[in-house]
């Protein structure tokens, strides 16, 4: 068969063509963020004439981006921490003990991965209103923890089950309580799984736009994604500022990705395959 002679070059052309379609819009976004609106309108594809930060200075003046940023950091960090704590406690219980109801509990959590939670948004809105959590960052935190728990428990339980029990038993004979065993003995060995959970849940809560769209109307309580919504609503003609806003919104995640691209890609796919 001689098809291999021409398939290789074809593979390359095709793969790199799609890759450039994947990258180019992001590159365009970053490059355009250094241009004035006039520059974008007259020569949209050209490189920026100068790499000055005027558009960014302008952006920070017209919207409270620092506030959005701090809100996003607070919500994501607290959510991820709470997910790690609640999920490892529950996963430890499910994986290490054999009470009759353990499988039921496990299944109950797993069900959550298939549930389209957005369809419950009306009751959620009323619930948040009753709990006085509308316009509070805690409404978002509760949502990210609640929706993050099923997948996290699945990943952690799977990992717990592969770990040998000897160390735990030794600690138990030494008189350590369950909490002590979990914290001092088990969790340090769980770092890879905890890392996976952390990455998946951080991306999820950092990028989510649906829940703040419904729960948050106070401009000073907005996270970056809904902040973008007000930017595009009010300054839709100022393309320089728009591109700067989009770039600034995406930068933290892109930087983190380049620091740990392997963990990112493995983490997200692991979540789906398990």
């Amino acid at each position: 068969m001689n098809h291999t002679i021409w398939t290789r070059p074809f593979y390359y052309v095709f793969a790199f063509l799609i890759a450039s379609i994947s990258i180019y819009p992001i590159l365009l976004m970053i490059l355009s963020s250094f241009k004035t609106s006039a520059e974008i309108f007259t020569s949209p594809l050209a490189l920026p004439k100068t790499f000055n930060l005027d558009t960014y200075r302008n952006l920070l003046e017209i919207i409270p981006f620092t506030t959005y940023f701090m809100n996003s950091v607070f919500v994501s960090v607290v959510s991820v921490l709470l997910i790690l704590i609640t999920s490892s406690l529950a996963a430890f219980y499910i994986a290490r003990f054999t009470y009759v109801w353990n499988n039921v509990i496990f299944f109950f959590f797993l069900m959550g991965m298939m549930l389209p939670i957005k369809l419950g948004i009306v009751p959620l809105f009323i619930l948040m209103k009753d709990l006085n959590l509308l316009n509070s960052l805690w409404s978002l935190i509760f949502m990210y923890v609640a929706t993050g728990i099923p997948l996290s428990i699945l990943i952690l339980t799977g990992f717990f089950r592969t770990m040998p029990r000897e160390l735990e038993e030794a600690a138990r004979i030494d008189g350590a309580g369950n909490l002590r065993i979990l914290w001092n003995v088990v969790l340090p060995l769980m770092r890879p799984a905890l890392g996976t959970v952390m990455i998946i849940q951080f991306i999820q809560s950092w990028n989510d736009f649906f829940f703040p769209l419904i729960f948050i109307t106070d401009d000073l309580k907005k996270t970056i994604p809904v902040g973008m919504l007000s930017l595009f609503g009010e300054y839709s003609a100022d393309w320089g500022a728009l591109f700067a806003g989009l770039t600034l919104a995406s930068l933290p995640m892109i930087v983190l990705f380049f620091i740990a691209s392997k963990q990112f890609m493995e983490g997200l796919t692991q979540g789906a395959i398990k």
């Binding site: 594809l45 609640t86 948004i121 728990i149 995406s250």
Partner: protein, 318 residues
């Protein structure tokens, strides 16, 4: 040797132990509580909401299946429902072809060990890191008819006749959004398929080669059957995702499914019923919205379960 304990302290120690043993049952409680209150309860509540009449977000009287009946028989509700439903189907089909189909081909190319495969993986995956709202807004700028990069590129290539008001034309608006969704999701698909390919034992390829299978026959006879689990995952995820499609449509076209409802999806329609007052000030919107949520919920769960069962059986048969 320890001195013998008196009976009092033995009882005390036993009690302490029992207590300690009992505390283990507290471990799953925080997770159960948060998940129960903010995920399970709202979905059950949505079901009960659909049987009531609503004035704004205040619950009125029990009306049985009236909301469901209105949703399917009363205009404009039923027309809008089927219109949006058709768009969700198109969403699913086009994503299967352009996102998952392409993703499989690209995963196969990477698997065949081309140079720069690490770079390719990162490149395909990069869009997945952006918030969906950023993706929507970015492409809205790129697809802008006057200053957007796409039309400018077409002009530079001498393809002026292909220039369009991509999002303003009912013929191209929905397809544009779906293709943007494919742009966003393709990297994830590549990684899933690649993981599937890499889990195929090498010996099978060797055996296949000895039998003279290579290229397409190899793909058809060896790779595809063994990739069933990966296809299953991607199909189910794509199905759920396309029937929940909301954020990207909202970012690019707002909550009205513009132009002329040509980009309406069931989730967008649901959002309008529940929050956007699309029922023309009618007070039944929350009831209708909840009915729509229930229908969508049953539809998604039913087909997901059916598909998973079917594929599992097929896998056993092979």
């Amino acid at each position: 040797m320890k001195p013998a304990m008196n009976s009092d302290s033995v009882v005390k120690l036993k009690k302490q132990r029992n207590w300690k043993r009992w505390t283990i049952h507290l471990f799953p409680i925080p997770a159960l509580l948060i998940y129960g209150v903010f995920v399970v309860y709202p979905l059950f509540a949505a079901l009960t909401y659909s049987f009531f009449d609503w004035k704004g977000i205040v619950r009125g009287e029990f009306v049985g299946l009236k909301n469901f009946k209105d949703l399917f028989t009363l205009e404009p509700f039923s027309g809008l429902f089927w219109n949006a439903f058709g768009h969700n189907i198109l969403y699913f089909v086009l994503q299967m072809i352009f996102q998952n189909g392409l993703a499989f081909i690209l995963a196969y190319i990477i698997y065949k060990k081309v140079k720069g495969s690490e770079f390719l993986k990162i490149a395909y995956f990069l869009p997945r890191l952006l918030s969906v709202i950023v993706v929507g807004f970015l492409w809205k700028l790129i697809l802008n008819p006057n200053y957007g990069a796409l039309n400018v590129i077409l002009e530079k290539l001498g393809l002026e006749q292909l220039q369009k008001a991509w999002l303003g034309d009912p013929d191209t608006a929905l397809i544009s959004i779906i293709l943007v969704n494919c742009w966003y999701g393709i990297g994830f698909g590549v990684l899933i398929f690649l993981a599937g390919l890499q889990s195929i034992p090498k010996e099978l390829f060797e055996a296949g080669k000895l039998d003279g299978a290579d290229g397409l026959p190899m793909i058809r006879k060896i790779i595809l059957p063994l990739m069933v689990p990966s296809f299953m995952i991607m199909t189910v995820l794509t199905f759920i995702q396309s029937f929940e499609a909301f954020e990207l449509v909202y970012a690019m076209q707002g909550s009205q499914g513009e132009p002329y409802h040509s980009t309406d999806t069931l989730a967008i329609y649901f959002y309008r019923l529940a929050f956007g007052g699309s029922a023309g000030g009618s007070t039944t919107a929350v009831g209708l919205g909840s009915a729509l949520a229930v229908v969508l919920f049953i539809f998604i769960s039913f087909f997901t379960a059916l598909y998973l069962r079917y594929m599992q059986k097929k896998q056993v048969d092979m």
